[in-house]
């Protein structure tokens, strides 16, 4: 009876521990994009995964990084252990304590510390900085595994080797090293696992164009989870699982012992195969650059899911530039990276108010329009709107634009939707999704109250804040990227959303409808800018010019579904319904109700952030 209860308990525990992973693994073989609906077994996602060049590139980076980091860490860590073991007891325990602390330290702290260090020393982030960071955080794991072996080893063993005629080098190589080899091997495997596993430190120390699997998954997932990510996560899980299994169950069994001796006896083979793997990956890495066509690199920093990947390939083919493409999630995140000079990019796509802020802080270079003849394809009305944040159109070429409005599900909402007020209706408790961004949240409240969305009047802001705070209990969540999935899956009735998303969502779920409320809203423009510390301005301008080609703009429009300011591209849209869509291209009456966000200055930002903290929208979800 008690045994039975024990078993049930154990079963439940394992279930809780592994259920999420199990679901993930099942999903990776599910022939349906929607979770929770089994459509049969497929390997399609794995196939797509291996066909995805940027993921394969990230895989290569991950392996090269993990191998280099763990090899360097293993060598350094092992030498450290030998030194430590020769120390006096008191010094020893202090040193061991010091090496242990980084393992217990919050990873985010380590990550920030590294970033600060590199940026402070004026080292711009690159592959080397990630490598240095990885080596550093791996060393404690090597010490953890090797030191006990070194201490355990009878000190006389080394002397016995000398006694039998070995030189100090032979004694170390033939006796000390093999004796502590199990520890070294565990340390190496653990470092390798930790390096593969790491996200936070990599995220903060990587240079532009460097992506590992974990950072890649992170950026991909922000756009809404694609099933290939299930496949990738499954593979990652299995790899780490196998490695940890080796680390934990290896050393205790006899099998491992002979495994170690085996490895040691065949050290030549092992060394050669290791070299082959490294050389192959590094070589493969460089193959990309050895393209005959290759004339240079361009580092692009764009919003997630904000370009048709085929466009990037076309650009590379057409111009010979290798594109290093990276994504950001919020304007503020991008701004920090650029303003701190942590990473340098050649061309970036911020939003209107952020362009204004970057101009004000002298972060941008003027665009040479003689290199962008395709600028003529951009409608003058949009160039004029852009003057609102970029007077004289000196710095920014509009790329996408749209409105902020309400998306609702016709089956779930029976009232007429024409006012922001519906978002404050308790009838829809737990069915409302808000945007987790200061300006968008305040756009809703301020517009509803009839105030300017760029107000700096504290009373008005306070009123808007009270409104948002009062609304919070009926809000299902403040979200960033999950709006799409939730609305498509009927998981919410009402959501604040950008017009561009609305078109895509309507295609997936015809019950959805988009409205710009009568009180007015925000019209936003995202555009390409070139930062001052750009390394290849020519390439950046070629990039912008390329995106202004009507066919290319059309491809992007069809992929992103956000409205394009490229009038020539709009003419090319075949589907009449879309070409005349009120969501994609609203008529003047709707646009006239909307205004752009202005940069509010440092104090304005602080003010908004202050009130935003009270709402706590950023923390929910």
């Amino acid at each position: 009876m008690r045994n039975c209860a024990k078993r049930i308990y154990l079963f439940l525990m394992v279930l809780f521990l592994y259920l999420p992973i199990f679901v993930l693994i099942v999903a990776s073989f599910n022939d349906s994009k929607i979770l929770g609906k089994w459509n049969g077994f497929t390997l399609e996602w794995y196939k797509q995964l291996f066909d995805n060049a940027s993921i394969m590139n990230a895989l290569r980076t991950t392996i090269v990084l993990a191998l280099l980091a763990s090899i360097i860490a293993t060598v350094l860590g092992t030498l450290a252990c030998i030194t430590i073991s020769k120390m006096k007891k008191s010094t020893k325990s202090i040193v061991v304590g010091i090496t242990n602390i980084p393992m217990l330290n919050a990873e985010i702290v380590t990550a920030l510390a590294f970033m600060l260090l590199f940026v402070g020393l004026g080292i711009s982030l690159s592959f080397s900085t990630v490598l240095i960071a990885h080596v550093t955080f791996c060393i404690p794991y090597v010490v953890l595994n090797v030191l006990p072996k070194v201490s355990q080893m009878d000190n006389n063993m080394y002397e016995a080797a000398l006694d039998l005629g070995a030189t100090p080098f032979q004694a170390f190589y033939k006796v000390t090293l093999p004796e502590i080899m199990p520890g070294i091997l565990s340390g190496f495997l653990m470092s390798f696992t930790m390096s593969i596993d790491d996200f936070i430190i990599t995220h903060f120390t990587r240079g532009s164009g460097i992506d590992t699997l974990s950072t890649k998954i992170y950026t991909e997932v922000r756009k809404g989870i694609k099933p290939e990510m299930y496949a990738l996560s499954t593979l990652l899980f299995v790899t780490v699982f196998v490695l940890l299994f080796l680390v934990n169950y290896g050393p205790k069994t006899k099998a491992k012992k002979s495994f170690t001796t085996l490895i040691f006896k065949n050290k030549v083979t092992v060394a050669i195969s290791m070299c082959v793997v490294i050389i192959a990956s590094v070589f493969g890495y460089n193959l990309l650059k050895d393209d005959k066509n290759y004339i240079g690199d361009v580092y692009v920093y764009n919003w997630g899911e904000y370009i048709d990947p085929a466009v990037i390939e076309l650009f590379e083919e057409r111009t010979g530039y290798k594109v290093h493409y990276e994504e950001f999630e919020t304007n503020e995140e991008m701004y920090t990276i650029i303003a701190k000079g942590a990473r340098t990019y050649d061309v970036i796509c911020p939003s209107d108010y952020m362009v204004e802020k970057m101009i004000e802080n002298e972060l941008l270079a003027e665009i040479d329009y003689s290199n962008i003849p395709n600028i003529s394809n951009i409608g003058t009305q949009y160039m004029n709107s852009a003057q609102g944040f970029d007077p004289g159109n000196k710095y920014c070429v509009p790329y996408c634009w749209g409105t902020v409005g309400i998306m609702y599900n016709k089956n779930m909402v029976d009232d007429e939707v024409n006012s922001w007020g519906i978002l404050f209706n308790e009838k829809y408790e737990d069915n409302i999704l808000m945007q987790a961004s200061v300006r968008d949240a305040y756009c809703v409240a301020l517009s509803y109250l009839g105030y300017s969305i760029n107000t700096l009047n504290e009373d008005e802001l306070k009123e808007a804040t009270d409104l948002l705070v009062a609304q919070k209990p009926i809000v299902q969540a403040y979200v960033v990227d999950q709006v799409r999935d939730k609305m498509i899956k009927n998981a919410a009735a009402l959501a604040v959303i950008y017009s561009g998303e609305a078109i895509y969502m309507q295609k997936e779920n015809p019950d959805l409808e988009y409205v710009v409320p009568d009180e007015g809203s925000n019209v936003w423009i995202d555009g390409w800018v070139i930062p001052k510390d750009c390394q290849n301005k020519e390439a950046a301008e070629a990039w912008i010019n390329f995106l202004c080609e009507p066919e290319i703009a059309l491809m992007n429009f069809e992929y992103i579904t956000y409205s394009t300011p490229n009038v020539a591209a709009r003419e090319l849209i075949e589907d009449e319904e879309i070409r005349n869509s009120q969501i994609a291209f609203p008529d003047e009456s709707i646009l006239s109700r909307c205004s752009v966000y202005n940069y509010l200055g440092k104090e304005g930002d602080t003010l908004y952030d202050y009130y935003w903290t009270m709402v706590g929208g950023a923390e929910s979800d």
Partner: protein, 357 residues
């Protein structure tokens, strides 16, 4: 026994402020079984390590076969060590362990195989070639450590408390085994132990050490029967050590009573220490003894009885095959031959000072 093979000349060694060896002089002859005997911490291992080349002396020279090897690294010395904890290589098989030194010297495979066979046979462990070191018992590991050392045909084998970790029965077996080995190989053994019985059983020569100084060098018989000072007497077996005065040659007074003895040359009325082994004390009828006493303790020890007798204000330790019950009045008698006279150190410290050979 042959010539001086190893000569330690004025060896001084300290760790930090702690002086471990102070001006140690000692020679070891060819084919000798020499034992360094002394309490834990007296510097035996340090001496051995200096011979082996694992420590270098602060002062002094190590001469081997007429050559100064003070600065020669261990791998260049023609001697091998059997370490206290065996120090077998755990990642190798027994055969690989034994072959280690030979492989370093690039011996042929056939030669190595022969040597492994021969060495395993010598230590009675034939057929153990492919076992791993940690699957062996302590005694077996011990023998492998010896086999690993002797295949290199060293002129000297250094053994640091090789039997210390073994249980009593095994230890006794191994003692005979080592003596047999030494006779078969005909090489010099330098053996370290803190066990006086072991030293007395096995050695040709015993070097008694204390606090970094040599106390006495001699054959087991000399060390046992004629300890040169109270430390040696006390350390080698049980003894009654009694302060006394040398009245004249062949007459000593202690516990207020005069005893005849055979020692001469201490001078007249000189303070000395008197050593009497417990088995040399005769218990007789009270009136027949030199002094009278009362039995206070009695223990049966199998071969003999051990008694404590209070006589002349001193607690005598007595071993005898005849029993006297507790409370019995007895007389104590000692044959002059069995009274050993030793110079009295002038201070506590001098107890540890080196005694000239």
């Amino acid at each position: 026994m042959g010539n001086k093979l190893i000569d330690l000349q004025g060896i001084t060694k300290s760790y930090g402020k702690q002086m471990v060896l102070d001006d140690l002089n000692l020679y070891i002859r060819e084919n000798e079984f020499l034992t360094l005997l002394g309490p834990s911490g007296c510097g035996k291992t340090t001496t051995l390590r200096i011979i082996g080349g694992f420590e270098s002396p602060d002062k002094g020279r190590v001469v081997f076969d007429g050559q100064d090897i003070t600065d020669l690294p261990p791998n260049k010395r023609h001697l091998n060590t059997v370490f206290q904890k065996y120090a077998l290589f755990t990642h190798m098989t027994i055969a690989e362990n034994i072959a280690f030194g030979l492989k370093i010297k690039n011996k042929s495979k056939a030669y190595i195989d022969d040597k492994i066979k021969y060495a395993l046979k010598l230590v009675n462990l034939d057929g153990f070639e492919n076992r791993m070191a940690d699957s062996l018992s302590g005694g077996q590991q011990q023998r492998i450590a010896i086999a690993r050392a002797i295949v290199n045909e060293p002129k000297v084998l250094l053994l640091d408390e090789p039997l210390g970790a073994l249980d009593l029965k095994l230890r006794q077996d191994m003692q005979y085994e080592l003596i047999r080995l030494k006779n078969e190989l005909g090489i010099t053994f330098v053996f370290v132990t803190h066990d006086q019985e072991e030293a007395l059983t096995m050695s040709d020569t015993i070097v008694v050490m204390n606090q970094g100084y040599i106390q006495q060098v001699g054959t087991p018989e000399m060390i046992y029967n004629e300890p040169e000072n109270a430390f040696v007497a006390d350390f080698i077996g049980d003894s009654n050590i009694i302060p006394g005065t040398m009245i004249e040659d062949e007459l000593v007074e202690f516990l207020g009573t005069k005893f005849r003895c055979v020692d001469k040359g201490f001078g007249n009325n000189k303070p000395v220490d008197v050593v009497i082994r417990p088995e040399d004390v005769e218990l007789v009828a009270p009136e027949k003894g030199t002094i009278k006493g009362v039995v206070t303790h009695l223990i049966f020890k199998g071969v003999h009885y051990e008694m404590e007798v209070m006589a002349g204000g001193f607690e005598w330790l007595v071993q005898s095959t005849k029993m006297s019950p507790v409370g019995a009045e007895v007389g104590i008698k000692v044959d002059p031959f069995n009274i050993q006279i030793m110079n009295k150190p002038e201070s506590e410290d001098e107890e540890a000072v080196g005694v000239d050979e």
